[in-house]
């Protein structure tokens, strides 16, 4: 059987499910690609880092609309592709196919949700049973997860991982020797990389001669929480300038800590369809410039939900395959009145979501943050929040407010 990957990918952009046997073959082929990749994958800029997406398929399409489609943009996904959202299966299937089609332009890092135990609890397992009638697809994907890389280094400068640091890992070389081809253990360095979190509380001040003084047991039940000193030491020992990770919800879509030594990127807007948060992707330029491109959720009328789907299934008829991320009904014009939330400020010109004008307007609305790696003027997040003038909602760029869906 010939594999027309482009045709398959076109179908996946319209949210169609692949047959079970195709998923099995897909996972086998992607494993063959991943097995050759080391635990620490080297990536050259320019590239775009994507944080947690958690099965929010329509918002993944938003990411491609604002960040560029594969292979025009190089992507590094930092994990947590599944669980919680309605479309974990469609999301992971699409990303796996993109990895297979463009292996040098797509990097898939493992998150804490890429695990059998976690997916049985947080939704992916249930979704597979519901959509395929059995657990085979779940087991194909969870076997695939065992092959995902653990971290990325961009041009010897930016270290990227899903969760954070480990008291057992002081150097990049130590990460390279981990045996990653297994279920995430309950504890140890591999668990720490996907579960740890930074804190900005003053508890963790420098302790002379005691490395562990800056790690504490995580309330999540796995991994650790770590502080500024540990971060600084890790960067110095390994000759790096910045750590970028995901794993924690950021209301503004991103957060910068420790005088720009570490940042969090979060890419699931309106998380679980109720948190009301913004999302972002981190665009890294050829000279390692960092730019948090902030965006909100895909507007409701372009988004299907399971309830809406059953209602419109009969009416809609066959869905078009609309190559570039087309969604049924999207190309139709029509007024936005009454569909969006009271805060929306979309204009009629935005109807064609992929239109150049809309993309341009969106780019103007977002903010430039950070700067050259190692340049300290990136601004610091104070505790939980981000500086007032950086907040995505309000301020001069009030157009961004329109993306909140509460």
């Amino acid at each position: 059987m010939t594999w027309d990957l482009d045709a398959i990918i076109s179908r996946l952009y319209t949210k169609q499910l692949l047959p079970e046997h195709t998923v099995r073959e897909l996972c086998e082929k992607v494993k063959e690609v991943l097995v050759r990749e080391g635990n620490v994958r080297n990536v050259s800029p320019p590239c775009t880092l994507v944080g947690d997406v958690h099965g929010q398929f329509y918002d993944v399409l938003e990411i491609f609309r604002i960040g560029g489609y594969c292979p025009d943009t190089n992507y590094v996904f930092l994990g947590d592709y599944v669980d919680r959202g309605y479309y974990s299966v469609e999301t992971i299937t699409l990303l796996a196919c993109l990895k297979l089609r463009y292996p040098d332009r797509v990097t898939l890092v493992r998150g804490n949700h890429e695990s059998r135990a976690v997916t049985q609890t947080y939704g992916f397992y249930t979704e597979c049973i519901r959509k395929y009638g059995n657990a085979n697809v779940w087991s194909y994907f969870t076997d695939l997860f065992d092959y995902l890389v653990l971290s990325v280094v961009i041009q010897d400068s930016i270290f990227c991982v899903h969760g954070g640091l480990s008291p057992s890992l002081h150097t990049i070389d130590q990460i390279k020797v981990i045996d990653r081809f297994r279920e995430i253990p309950h504890e140890g360095p591999m668990a720490d990389l996907v579960w740890s979190d930074p804190v900005s509380a003053p508890t963790f001040s420098s302790v002379s001669g005691d490395d562990k003084g800056d790690f504490a047991i995580s309330p999540r039940g796995a991994g650790y929480i770590f502080g500024r000193e540990v971060t600084k030491k890790f960067l110095e020992v390994n000759g790096l300038g910045h750590i970028c990770r995901a794993h924690q919800l950021c209301m503004e879509g991103y957060q910068i800590l420790y005088d720009d030594m570490l940042s969090t990127v979060w890419s699931a807007p309106n998380y679980c369809y109720r948190a009301g948060n913004m999302a972002s992707v981190l665009e890294i330029g050829p000279g390692l410039e960092r730019y948090f491109n902030v965006f909100g959720p895909c507007p409701d009328q372009y988004r299907e939900t399971p309830a809406k789907e059953t209602a419109t299934a009969a009416a809609a008829g066959a869905m078009g395959t609309g190559g570039m991320g087309g969604v049924a009904g999207r190309e139709k014009g029509g007024s936005l009145a009454g569909v969006l939330s009271r805060d929306a400020v979309w204009e009629d010109g935005d109807v064609g979501m992929g239109s150049q004008a809309a993309v341009e307007r969106r780019r103007k609305m977002t903010r430039r943050v950070g700067g050259m790696v190692g340049n300290g003027n990136g601004g610091e997040g104070s505790g939980d929040g981000v500086d007032a003038d950086r907040v995505g909602a309000g301020g001069q760029d009030s157009g961004v407010v329109g993306r909140y869906f509460l």
């Binding site: 947080y122 039940g221 948190a275």
Partner: protein, 358 residues
């Protein structure tokens, strides 16, 4: 400083009083999870639903019940009581198992429950408090050392004690708060834990804390469990029957005894604190557990937790206590490297081990 093999725990527990430990800063507080700053007690006329909502809102597992007419505390409302109540109403607990003097109240409850507007809404908690007979209103005074509390936990097999302040000859006692096994675990972790002690604080060695759970005989080989498809009600019944606080959800279908999750006494608040919560009793355990974890993740600002808090048989007692304190849980599950569940270590087990050496 000379290292002695002496156990530092008795000294720590003697040097701080119950009143002081309740009021000391909560080191393991997170944004979403802190000890209540105001001691919670409940009016006896609150309905079961209101009482449960109050427990959940204040994030406490139990609270003393105050009856105005009687002019004093008449008992503790605890999740165990609520479980006993549910099981009684659903006739899962045979009548002869309920102690004799509760018979009258029980028939009252059932009558009111079946004729009340929403089922449970009309039943005042004064009839439910102490129904399990497992949480009598034991109390200590705020001036007593925490050591006394630990001995009481172990001897009387209770999880928490009311702390009262004596007001002198004339007045009654004031309710100061609750001292629980969790309070003691947090205290020990913050003073003796390898990672929990603040930098700069001298770290004392704790020989008992270095012993492994296996060495201390705390790993029994298996746990009381239900299967993923069993109903939540089944879990409650097992907990009531065996007088335990939690059951594992274990997949035994292929002989590898994998721990998928657990249902514990405190989860009952999810059932009783909201309208229509009754229906969840008939959910499959795994479905209920998944929804619970998903909701908890959102309550913790999106920070999802591991499905089960686990340790190995070779984990030290000190590490286990630190993990229990950091996760604000009541137990850790003991699993082998392949995921097979071989035991559970609860705060009660920890208190017993410590009390035995006081």
């Amino acid at each position: 400083m000379a290292e002695t093999p002496e156990d530092p725990v008795p000294g720590i527990l003697s040097a701080i009083t119950c009143g002081e430990v309740i009021l000391s800063p909560d080191q393991f507080a997170t944004r979403e999870s802190t000890r209540p700053t105001v001691p919670v007690c409940l009016d006896s006329e609150l309905s079961v639903q209101e009482g449960c909502a109050a427990l959940a809102a204040h994030r406490v597992s139990s609270a003393p019940v105050y009856d105005e007419k009687a002019g004093g505390f008449v008992g503790m409302l605890d999740y165990r009581d609520l479980v006993a109540y549910i099981l009684a109403v659903l006739h899962k607990v045979p009548a002869d198992r309920i102690s004799a003097d509760a018979d009258l109240e029980l028939t009252d409850i059932i009558r009111q429950a079946t004729t009340g507007p929403q089922g449970t809404a009309g039943v005042p908690i004064k009839l439910v408090a102490n129904l399990s007979k497992l949480n009598p209103l034991a109390h200590l005074y705020s001036t007593e050392p925490v050591l006394t509390a630990v001995k009481t936990f172990a001897r009387d097999k209770v999880h928490r004690l009311v702390v009262l302040r004596q007001e002198g000859a004339a007045g009654g006692d004031t309710f100061v708060g609750i001292i629980s096994q969790s309070t003691v675990a947090a205290l020990i972790a913050s003073r003796l834990g390898k990672l929990s002690t603040k930098p700069g604080q001298p770290r004392t060695s704790w020989p008992l804390g270095e012993k492994t759970l296996a060495d201390l005989g705390l790993v029994k080989g298996d746990v009381i469990s239900i299967s993923p498809e069993d109903q939540v009600l089944e879990a409650l019944y097992l907990m009531h029957e065996k007088k335990i606080s939690s059951v594992g959800i274990v997949d035994r279908s292929e002989g590898d005894n994998l721990l998928l999750g657990s249902i514990s006494m405190t989860d009952i608040k999810e059932i009783l604190a909201r309208r229509g919560g009754w229906k969840r009793l008939f959910d499959s355990a795994m479905h209920f557990f998944g929804d619970l974890r998903a909701e908890q993740g959102l309550q913790h600002h999106g920070d999802d937790r591991v499905p089960s808090f686990t340790v190995h048989p070779g984990t030290t007692l000190g590490s286990a206590v630190e993990k229990i304190a950091a996760t604000r849980s009541h137990r850790v599950w003991v699993v082998e490297k392949d995921g097979k569940v071989v035991g559970v270590v609860s705060l009660s087990d920890v208190m017993a081990v410590i009390a035995a050496r006081l």
